[in-house]
């Protein structure tokens, strides 16, 4: 018999749970197994009793039941009191664990702001850098302050055993202490509309050692200076890319940005309008006012009033304007106004620049890091 718990404990590591990567995992997993054992004892007992009675007291020739056992207060009290004691224990241990999970210990925490929107996450680090993946150092207390700009979302990293809803109109907080280097999945756990199941960061939570975290922060880009580069950077980091591709003709939830500027676009409900500076600004601040034809679900897009400044909108406009032009890469290649950092932010490699001559390169092809490509992969598969 002692082999069985060991076997099950082994199974529990690999079978029941995702990797343990935060200080919560030890306790929640152990407690999970405790409840499992309690439940198994009751369940097996009930099923055995059921099966045994069904066989032993089955109707058959020569057998006569005895219907005198009708109530027994001692028995009733026993099977009321024992479960009561057990659930009091489960409640108590759960509540204590919960208080640990919602209240960070005294001392240093790293505060990161999280903004959730359909269907993307943004993380703003203490130094002001914004990224769409979460980079955090191991063995430090991380506190997230989370806001949603549209509907309910929930921040859920299974490896951390941590989950908290992100509620529009409120700032919710959660904390955890990652204990193991690695890349973990982030899921949105509260239904948020069409692409709820794509609001994930596959291996997008990076637990780093202290050095790597410092290095990451040091090179984590703040907004680039050049408006075109900044426009691209905003598209990449502020949620636009969840719904708007840069690849020509690729339809995500919203229309592709490629080749839009300066052309006439059909409106939902008839009419057309020129895709110009005015239209871009109006669409960012009041997306439903002139929704594009074929995109009835424009209500999915939140207004960015208060999220993007006029300056940001101008940068996005500049970026959309230039990316449509054939000499966009030439502009980059000439290094006319784009610094090395800007190019990096644009994800433009020398290969892109070389390819620009043949006109086949795509700006959306972000070659800056493998991680980002992995994160974008699900987007790429949605071609309608």
């Amino acid at each position: 018999m002692p082999a069985l718990p060991t076997l099950l404990a082994d199974i529990n590591e690999t079978y029941w749970f995702p990797p343990k990567a935060s200080t919560f995992a030890e306790e929640t997993d152990a407690f999970f197994m405790v409840i499992m054992w309690i439940s198994l004892v009751f369940f097996v007992g009930i099923v055995i009793a059921m099966g045994y009675f069904a066989m032993k007291f089955r109707r058959r020739p020569g057998y006569k039941g005895d219907s005198s056992a009708l109530h027994n207060n001692t028995l009733e009290i026993t099977w009321t009191v024992i479960p009561t004691i057990i659930v009091i224990y489960i409640f108590y241990r759960g509540a204590v664990g919960y208080l640990d999970m919602v209240n960070p210990p005294e001392g240093d925490t790293i505060d990161i702001n999280v903004t959730a929107q359909k269907w993307n996450w943004q993380f703003q680090y203490p130094n002001g850098a914004i990224d769409d993946e979460l980079h955090i150092p191991e063995n430090r207390n991380i506190r997230l302050r989370m806001r949603s700009i549209d509907v309910l979302h929930a921040f859920y990293v299974p490896a951390f055993r941590a989950k908290t809803d992100v509620v529009p109109g409120r700032v919710t907080t959660m904390w955890f202490q990652p204990t193991k280097k690695g890349d973990y999945d982030l899921f949105c756990a509260e239904y948020c509309g069409d692409d709820h199941s794509k609001m994930i960061k596959r291996q997008g939570v990076h637990v780093l050692n202290d050095d790597d975290y410092e290095k990451y922060l040091a090179k984590a880009v703040k907004a680039p200076d050049h408006p075109i580069a900044k426009g691209y950077w905003l598209w990449d980091k502020r949620g636009c890319k969840a719904c708007h591709s840069l690849k020509p003709g690729e339809t995500l939830q919203g229309p592709s940005f490629a080749g839009s500027y300066g052309n006439m676009v059909q409106l939902y409900g008839g009419g057309e309008v020129e895709f110009d500076d005015q239209y871009i600004q109006e669409s960012i601040y009041d997306p439903q006012a002139k929704a594009r034809g074929g995109y009835e679900n424009a209500s999915a897009m939140p207004s960015f009033v208060g999220q993007l400044s006029l300056d940001d909108v101008q940068s996005i406009t500049a970026f959309l304007k230039e990316m449509g032009k054939e000499d966009f890469y030439n502009l980059v290649a000439d290094d006319d106004g784009l610094s090395e950092d800007d190019k990096k932010a644009l994800g433009i490699s020398d290969a892109d620049v070389a390819a620009a001559g043949s006109g086949e390169a795509e700006v959306g092809d972000d070659g800056s890091s493998d991680e980002e490509n992995a994160a974008e992969a699900p987007d790429g598969d949605e071609a309608a």
């Binding site: 749970f17 099923v47 009708l70 009733e76 479960p83 509907v151 999945d185």
Partner: protein, 569 residues
């Protein structure tokens, strides 16, 4: 009814054939305008089974889509509409009315030895409200596709395109249907019990129905208010649920679950009531711990009002509130456990007839126990944290709602089928259906516990590839389950067409419904029947397959008792 001729002069058999409620009047209008609770119950039965068929097909669509991690054949938006329809139809059109409105309508007056419910016209209007609500609801949802989930969480429901207002009006109408039924049963049980039937001589099904009715009458108005406020928020932006107008989405969740958690007990309590009857009759032994089962129904109904917050453990409620809700949640587990133990004790030294009905009852206990025990993980705050809104929750509530209510409902339909239709059914194929449901159900939902503990969130049209194996297992199980349910349907249809004539009391039940013919005459009982202990089987003797069990007056001379024949297929 005035044109019904006086049949008292006819021979007994012919009279019974002509007074049978199924045929005592003929024609479409005699059903459409009937005030007979039995006919209304049967119409409800057909209605809820149709709704169940539709929602079950949607469930299979969901499982088919989840066979692969990518979009298999539905887009994300379509998937969201399908799971919304599945949940909404199952909850509002099937589970809530299933036992109370269909079986309850048929059984409550007969079990009371009464001729009808207290308010027959209210009863019929409840059925038509259900029809109206169903048509309204389905039309609204199919018109453009509702994608809010059955919970209508704000601010998604106030901002998404789609017929949210129309669908919520459908829910509003269905709510009234539910309130009317509950009100009717409360008054019926309070005022129409026959002389001698004290509260603690009522069959336990009536206790469960009474407890359910209390919840229906007290909680459903809150749902009505909630959906009205939601519609007002959507149309007029009154600023209560939508943060854009200074509302708070968590307020909506409180409103919604203040109804919808008690509604869980509207769904499961009648199922428990059925099982109490089934266990006693088919073990041929008085129910063990009658008072404890009766009180536990009332306890569940009352505690059920105090635990809604456990749907919001991760919503950012205050810590104290969260902990109080966790504590209250565990209080509900105790009366549920008491019921299970008493059912088991009922089997002890009984005479267990392992027929189709008993198989469904045992199936219920097996599945409901899993459903109840897995609630422990979700009630405990620290383990709920990772499990909340994952497939663990999906599996848990399906074990309670499907493994509990649906299996209990099917067991009840099999149990009272001879009474309702006057026909016996195939025992062999009934048991086959039970076995298939058991295998299919566990194959579908056991893997989902593992999916949940490994971190698979709910309501995902696409998922990361490592979850595929378990999803495929679950989908295979769903098709087995679906097949098992089709077999059950086949058994019912076969019985209607070819079934043997049922005796008044085929199982040896001691409650009053077994004292009238199968099917009962339109008036149920000419004179209020003599009330006995509903679980005293001593005066019942088995005659033969055609006559079933007969009630022998305790003072009559003892008659040698035949052995019941083994169940034939």
């Amino acid at each position: 009814m005035s044109e019904i001729a006086d049949l008292s002069a006819l021979p007994r058999e012919e009279r019974e054939a002509r007074e049978n409620f199924l045929v005592n009047t003929k024609g479409f209008l005699s059903w459409a305008l009937t005030l007979d609770h039995k006919r209304i119950g049967l119409m409800y039965l057909v209605g809820v089974m149709t709704a169940f068929f539709v929602a079950g097909m949607l469930a299979l669509m969901i499982r088919l889509e989840l066979m692969t991690p990518e979009n298999t054949y539905l887009s994300n938006a379509q998937y969201n509409q399908v799971f919304t329809l599945h949940g909404a139809i199952m909850v509002f059109l099937f589970i809530i009315p299933s036992v109370p409105a269909a079986l309850g309508n048929f059984l409550v007056p007969v079990m009371l030895g009464a001729k009808d419910v207290a308010f027959p016209r209210l009863n019929l209007s409840s059925f038509y409200l259900w029809i109206c609500g169903a048509i309204f609801f389905l039309t609204a949802m199919l018109y453009t596709g509702l994608d809010t989930g059955w919970t209508f969480y704000t601010p998604y429901s106030t901002s998404t395109k789609g017929p949210v207002v129309a669908a919520t009006m459908g829910v509003f109408i269905l709510g009234f249907s539910s309130i009317f039924t509950g009100l009717n049963f409360i008054v019926t049980i309070n005022t129409m019990r026959p002389p001698g039937m004290e509260w603690f001589k009522m069959p336990l099904f009536l206790w469960a129905t009474y407890a359910t009715s209390i919840i229906q009458v007290l909680a459903t108005p809150v749902l009505g208010i909630t959906v009205l406020l939601l519609a007002a928020e959507r149309i007029m932006h009154i600023g209560i649920f939508d943060p854009e107008y200074n509302g708070d989405p968590v307020t909506y969740q409180h409103f919604f679950w203040f109804y919808s958690h008690p509604a869980v007990y509207i769904m499961i309590l009648p199922g428990m009531g059925i099982i109490s009857e089934l266990m006693s009759v088919h073990c041929h032994k008085s129910i063990f711990g009658y008072r404890f089962i009766a009180y536990s129904s009332i306890a569940i109904a009352l505690f059920g009002f105090l635990v809604w917050g456990h749907h919001m453990f991760t919503s950012g409620m205050a810590d104290v509130t969260t902990i109080i809700f966790s504590a209250l949640t565990f209080t509900v587990s105790i009366p549920s456990a008491i019921k299970v133990f008493n059912w088991l004790a009922t089997m002890y030294k009984g005479t267990v007839q392992l027929n189709t009905v008993m198989c469904y009852a045992l199936n219920f206990i097996f599945l409901f126990t899993i459903g109840g025990l897995t609630g422990l993980w979700l009630g405990a705050l620290s383990t709920d944290r990772p499990l909340h809104d994952t497939y663990f929750v999906v599996a848990h509530f399906h074990y309670v709602m499907v493994g509990g209510t649906l299996v209990g409902f099917l067991g009840g339909v099999f149990h009272w089928w001879p009474k309702m239709t006057g026909k016996m059914f195939s025992e062999l194929w009934g048991k086959v259906s039970c076995l298939l449901v058991f295998i299919g159900f566990n194959l579908t939902f056991l893997p989902q516990f593992v999916l949940g503990s490994r971190g698979m969130p709910r309501r995902y049209a696409q998922y990361v590839p490592e979850f595929q194996e378990l999803h495929v297992t679950s989908s295979v199980g769903a098709f087995v389950l679906g097949f098992g349910l089709f077999v059950a349907l086949g058994v019912f249809i076969h019985s209607l067409m070819r079934g043997k004539k049922a005796p008044p009391n085929p199982w040896g039940g001691a409650t009053l419904e077994w004292q009238c013919t199968s099917p009962p005459p339109y008036y149920n009982f000419l004179t209020p029947p003599e009330v006995n202990d509903p679980y005293n089987y001593k005066p019942l003797v088995y005659r033969d397959g055609e006559r079933g069990w007969e009630y022998i007056h305790p003072e009559a001379p003892e008659v040698p008792q035949a052995e019941p024949e083994p169940a034939k297929s």
